[in-house]
């Protein structure tokens, strides 16, 4: 099978599996005071230090969560509540329209239930938010902004955002900027301190770590109102007994992602370029999504005019190729991608998308499999048309 859906989840690294399994057999609640607890706490804190080092953060800035979705919710809702509590005028939330649903739906919820006014920042045709657009939106009424949230790199089309420049703009006005960096880690340099961000979301299973763990990297001056209340773990920002084996494995994966990033980007980027060339050779009208240059090295996103992405997915799946339409699902029903719609793509066109995302196990054979299957698949899908 050619697995080309690493952006959905990527196989765990052997080193991470080793770290995780080694700790699964060890008992200890990291909050306990006895020897077993101390041993667990040591594992957690060493993991936190490793994570911090890999992400350019301080250990105290690492708030462990159950994954990217929770970290996004904590950042968006928690910072909104805290900033509004401090000044009730702050009800504006500025968000890019190409965010993952973990951010979009959290922001929508704030609008529906917490009196937030959500403003979607304009993006260019590659899905990028320009710093001037953020400046314009904040400057219109700086005192009313609770927070801004713009992802580091887009999960569907792979476009990389100018995070540093955006953070500079936000900082000028004292507005906290959150970035979902789930897809960026391991592919582009991610240095929290250098980024100027207030908060940043990372996830374990996208970088070869385990499922069910992630972190919000949270500047020390920010104290979001918790989403989960309880035992007061994680700076009282995120309660809940820590998953010690997962923390250990996540830390290993993050360290290796940082150590191997340049080599990975080079190698997987070359494979990706091969894949793009192979697809274009048989489907010359395929449109490459996202920024042609400023993009994730492992991402290849295409729109095939006249085809339904679902049809292509089915045909490639039958040919042993795992990829994604990259669009959001409601009960498995394909909707035109909100990311493509935000970039001004025609809604019919936006239904014909496929995302190939490569990873650490990708090979030339995977690319060859796509090269062999994509032509007939596109032909058939085009015959089937849009229903």
């Amino acid at each position: 099978m050619a697995y080309l859906d690493h952006a959905a989840t990527t196989p765990m690294l052997p080193e991470a599996i080793e770290a995780m399994t080694a700790h699964l057999a060890v008992t200890g609640n990291a909050s306990s005071l006895h020897a077993a607890g101390r041993r667990a706490r040591r594992t957690v804190e060493e993991g936190r230090e490793t994570l911090a080092a890999a992400l350019g953060a301080r250990p105290s800035e690492v708030v462990l969560t159950s994954g990217g979705t929770e970290a996004d919710n904590l950042a968006v809702k928690g910072l909104y509540w805290a900033r509004r509590d401090a000044d009730p005028r702050r009800t504006r939330v500025l968000a890019s329209p190409v965010e993952h649903h973990a951010v979009l739906d959290a922001v929508d919820w704030l609008a529906t239930h917490e009196g937030a006014t959500v403003e979607y920042l304009p993006v260019d045709r590659h899905g990028r938010v320009h710093p001037d657009a953020l400046r314009e939106a904040i400057a219109r009424d700086p005192d009313s902004v609770a927070l801004a949230t713009v992802m580091w790199a887009n999960n569907e089309i792979g476009t990389i955002m100018p995070v540093r420049e955006l953070a500079d703009v936000a900082a000028e006005f004292g507005v906290p900027l959150h970035a979902d960096a789930v897809q960026a880690v391991g592919q582009v340099p991610v240095d929290f301190a250098a980024s100027g961000l207030a908060a940043m979301t990372v996830s374990g299973h996208k970088i070869g770590g385990p499922y069910g763990i992630g972190a919000l990297i949270l500047g020390r001056e920010h104290t979001p109102v918790p989403v989960l209340h309880g035992g007061g773990q994680e700076r009282h920002v995120r309660s809940g007994t820590l998953d010690v084996p997962a923390v250990a494995a996540f830390a290993v994966a993050a360290r290796l992602a940082a150590e191997r990033r340049e080599e990975f980007a080079r190698e997987v980027g070359a494979l990706r370029d091969e894949l793009v060339a192979a697809v274009r050779a048989v489907a010359p009208d395929a449109i490459l999504g996202g920024d042609p240059v400023e993009r994730l090295p492992a991402n290849a996103h295409f729109t095939f005019p006249g085809c339904e992405g679902d049809s292509l997915l089915l045909l490639l799946d039958a040919a042993g190729i795992a990829c994604s339409t990259g669009s959001a699902c409601t009960a498995g029903i394909a909707q035109p991608s909100h990311v493509l719609l935000a970039t001004g793509t025609d809604p019919d066109l936006a239904r014909g998308t496929l995302r190939f995302s490569l990873g650490h196990t990708s090979t030339k054979e995977d690319v060859a499999a796509v090269a062999g299957a994509i032509g007939p698949a596109v032909e058939r899908a085009r015959t089937a048309g849009l229903t």
Partner: protein, 382 residues
């Protein structure tokens, strides 16, 4: 015409698209197709633009829960599974048609319409384009392959479960790509459930769905009222004398007795039934039960399962999904079918489908346009 004995489908593996509603029948059908060695892919048709999260009672379908049930069944069978959004086609071809038919005073059967326009048209066309050979459903009916390569649709082996009526709209080309693995089942529904249980399918105990899938609460009148609004009009007797009022003629079905809300009894004290619905002057005519007796009908838009019959022929006919058989003589002229019943039948409404059978073989179907009443000496009323 001679009837060939039912044969099993071809044995070479086919690429089969199994329509999976989330119910037990379609799950067992997909499992049987896979077990027979076919290369099966499951697909759940999303037919509602705003699906409910959960099923309520035995009614409705296409909820997110149904989709999950279908997916779970596909996972257990070990076949790929996808959800296809056919909500727009379904709304245009089935729901809007259903409303328009009622508005015109007729009584449509949306299940036939769905089989004709969605399952064995929109779905089949897409399946064929994507390289599938057949669409498989959980209907109880049998496809017979003749030696000359033609195909026939027959009633299910077990008449009690037979669903050939709702498939009577399929032509031979559609039949050529249809697979009904439950058709030769001689077992009871309980045994189908037992088979599902044995196969590890969690839908084994799921209640059967009834009624019209897109009217989740079963309130057809309420559904129509929400689409068509209130249109007050007269209820009259056979002589044309006003006996009551209604809030929309479309809300009535020929043969209906309940819900007329006529304040006073008929002169003879007998119950009154809906005899006729006239959308033009928004009038509902009521009368005694005998007046419902129909001796013949005309039907339009015939669809033949094979070649159209010539001249007058004797058939058995079925007029409702769960109705019995009745002996008829039928002839076709200028695309219109004229049918005479051997014995009068009751409760026949324009808009319903008549399906003609030769023994167990489906000959064809047509949509009832007019009926001839025994007591209406001047002939057809519609």
């Amino acid at each position: 015409m001679t009837q060939t004995p039912p044969q099993r489908p071809r044995t070479q593996p086919l690429r089969v698209l199994a329509a999976m509603s989330g119910g037990v029948d379609s799950a067992v059908a997909a499992a049987r197709a896979a077990e027979a060695g076919h290369d099966v892919t499951g697909v759940h048709l999303a037919l509602s633009a705003n699906p409910q999260s959960f099923r309520t009672g035995a009614r409705g379908c296409c909820t997110i829960e149904d989709s999950r049930d279908a997916r779970r069944a596909a996972d257990v069978i070990g076949i790929p599974f996808y959800v296809w959004d056919l909500a727009e086609r379904f709304r245009e071809d089935v729901v809007d048609d259903f409303v328009a038919e009622y508005e015109a005073g007729r009584t449509p059967n949306p299940c036939l319409r769905c089989n004709e326009k969605i399952k064995f048209a929109a779905l089949l066309d897409k399946a064929l384009a994507l390289g599938f050979d057949a669409v498989c459903t959980g209907h109880y009916a049998t496809v017979v392959l003749n030696e000359d390569g033609t195909r026939e649709l027959h009633r299910a082996s077990d008449m009690a479960k037979d669903q050939s009526y709702v498939l009577g709209v399929l032509d031979e080309k559609q039949l050529a790509h249809a697979m009904f693995p439950l058709g030769d089942t001689l077992t009871t529904k309980d045994e189908i459930r037992a088979e599902a249980e044995r196969r590890g399918l969690a839908v084994a105990k799921k209640p059967d769905s009834h009624d019209i899938c897109f009217i989740a609460d079963g309130d057809t009148q309420g559904f129509l009222a929400s689409r068509l609004g209130k249109a007050e009009g007269d209820i009259v007797d056979e002589a044309g004398t006003k006996v009551g009022t209604h809030e929309g003629a479309y809300g009535f079905t020929i043969g209906q007795r309940k819900g007329l809300r006529i304040g006073h009894p008929a002169a003879d004290g007998k119950p009154r039934y809906v005899l006729d619905i006239s959308p033009v002057n928004n009038t509902v005519t009521v009368g005694p039960v005998e007046a419902l007796d129909v001796t013949g009908l005309t039907a339009i838009k015939p669809r033949w399962c094979g070649t159209a019959p010539e001249g007058e022929g004797r058939y058995t006919a079925q007029l409702r999904a769960h109705g019995g058989e009745t002996e008829v003589t039928a002839s076709l002229a200028d695309g219109e079918l004229t049918v005479a019943f051997a014995e009068p039948v009751r409760g026949v409404a324009p808009g319903q489908a008549i399906v003609l059978y030769d023994g167990t073989r489906v000959v064809g179907s047509a949509t009832i346009a007019t009926t001839t009443r025994r007591t209406a000496e001047q002939g057809a009323t519609a």
